[in-house]
């Protein structure tokens, strides 16, 4: 209880001995993305919180960037909003100069460099980028707050990453099991995995819940689906 108050309470409850302003807040949020041969699915929970307080139960944390790329961001919501705003500006500048929209791989690299520029006062944001690459395949990029970037076929990030990532490693990557081949990824399988992963995380992690919005991107366009989660 005391530890909780120390980590997440207001400034004056943080440490009775001194007041210290922290520029960062942790507003929670968890995201998952799964890539297939011709699609990619990216989902986030919709709860925005701070400590034991809930700010919103319906905050979509997935931002569209181009018709073929989306990114899910969680962490400090102020930094999420600013990072997104600046990235949108860069995307617009690129399309003005190139008369063409940015490819998913170019966006991925740009985000990495943008995050590293702030190496010494980072964006407190966990990002996943999901999109269709130039060959039509689905691709997922996972980031840390200072721009380390990894190209993957599935990834989780945010508050419940410890609960969800091992589940994905096992079910999609076939890890930690003997004699099991990883399945071919289909939209139905991806949707089911995302649904089950979030439902399980909501059971055990107090910060995850309220709902999820699942976005699917294919070369033909985007669709989205809302799923309810427990609200406690």
């Amino acid at each position: 209880m005391a530890l909780e108050m120390m980590m997440s309470g207001p400034d004056y409850m943080r440490d009775p001995r001194k007041h210290q302003f922290s520029p960062y807040a942790n507003n929670g949020g968890t995201s998952v993305a799964i890539a297939g041969d011709d699609f990619v699915m990216i989902a986030s929970d919709t709860r925005l919180s701070r400590g034991f307080n809930i700010f919103s139960r319906e905050q979509d944390k997935v931002f569209p960037l181009t018709p073929k790329t989306m990114m899910a961001s969680s962490g400090c919501w102020a930094d999420v909003l600013t990072l997104n705003k600046v990235l949108q500006a860069r995307l617009t500048m690129y399309s003005h100069e190139h008369h063409d929209m940015m490819s998913t791989t170019a966006v991925a690299q740009l985000l990495s460099t943008m995050l590293y520029w702030r190496r010494f006062f980072p964006y407190y944001v966990s990002n996943i980028l999901a999109g269709i690459d130039e060959e039509g395949k689905g691709v997922v990029y996972h980031y840390d707050p200072v721009g380390h970037m990894e190209k993957l076929t599935f990834s989780a990030t945010g508050e419940s990453v410890s609960q969800i990532q091992p589940l994905l490693d096992n079910q999609i990557g076939g890890l930690n099991m003997l004699g099991v081949k990883p399945p071919t990824m289909t939209k139905d399988l991806a949707r089911q995995l995302i649904h089950d992963a979030f439902v399980s995380a909501a059971e055990r992690d107090i910060n995850t819940g309220d709902g999820i919005i699942i976005h699917t991107i294919t070369k033909d366009g985007k669709t989205e689906e809302t799923v309810k989660l427990r609200r406690d």
Binding site: E97, H98, S103, T105, A106, A108, Q109, L110
Partner: protein, 234 residues
């Protein structure tokens, strides 16, 4: 770079609306060694004369046709030292672009950025315009590109062009000889013939330089390859 005393531009308008410094820069270009660029269906060729002033010059140490990236090459007419600076800056621009987007820079983007740099030097304190015109060739999005960049910062896309000494004759020659169905081999041949129009003395693989750019990328021709082409026109 400008010292504190030169915060005013040395390039100023004349009453007739001209920027005389740029006119003079263009004169420096027109006095430089000839350079030719020709775009073919399947590639682009750049060629230039590399006459040295004395037989004591170590000719193989001087390279005029330079690679900027795997798929972009450049040559010039005018002042060599100014050119070297622009080659360095072009290469840096290309690498910065790759660092940001993890994609090779499109030729059009490189040309625009390089031209913007050249324009800066016509409107900054304490500097003079570059005394070179550049010919930039590239291959991306499955097609060839050929651009000229002038000291003013203007850039032009060309099918074929000549710069430097005797450029008017060179361009007239190209207007007659150019057609849209040229293949790269023919274009190299035509480029050499264009250079020959203004060449004093005997052309050899030591005193001309040729670069080509196609789907496989940009490269300079080896002296042996140049010699083969020369043999075909003799």
């Amino acid at each position: 770079m400008a010292t504190e005393r030169y915060s005013f531009s040395l390039t100023t308008f004349s009453p007739s609306g001209k920027l005389v410094q740029i006119e003079y820069a263009l004169a420096a270009v027109a006095a430089g060694a000839p350079a030719v660029g020709i775009k073919a269906k399947d590639g682009v060729v750049l060629a230039t004369e590399k006459k040295h002033k004395s037989i004591l010059v170590e000719e193989h140490s001087i390279i005029k046709v330079e690679m900027i990236t795997d798929h972009i090459g450049m040559v010039y007419s005018g002042m060599g030292p100014d050119y070297r600076l622009l080659v360095r800056q072009a290469r840096k621009v290309a690498q910065q672009y790759f660092r940001t987007y993890l994609e090779t820079i499109p030729t059009t983007q490189l040309v625009q950025r390089l031209a913007a740099i050249m324009q800066e030097y016509t409107q900054s304190g304490g500097v003079r315009p570059f005394g070179v015109s550049l010919l930039i060739c590239g291959w991306d999005t499955d097609r060839p590109y050929l651009f000229q960049c002038d000291p003013s910062g203007a850039y032009f896309p060309w099918k074929a062009t000549a710069m430097g000494k005797n450029f008017i004759n060179g361009k007239t020659f190209l207007e007659k000889r150019y057609n849209e169905d040229l293949e790269l081999d023919d274009a190299v041949h035509t480029a050499i013939l264009t250079l020959k129009e203004s060449f004093e003395g005997q052309m050899s693989s030591d005193n001309i330089e040729i670069g080509i750019c196609n789907a496989k990328g940009f490269r300079r021709l080896t002296p042996a390859e140049v010699q083969d082409y020369l043999a075909n026109i003799a």
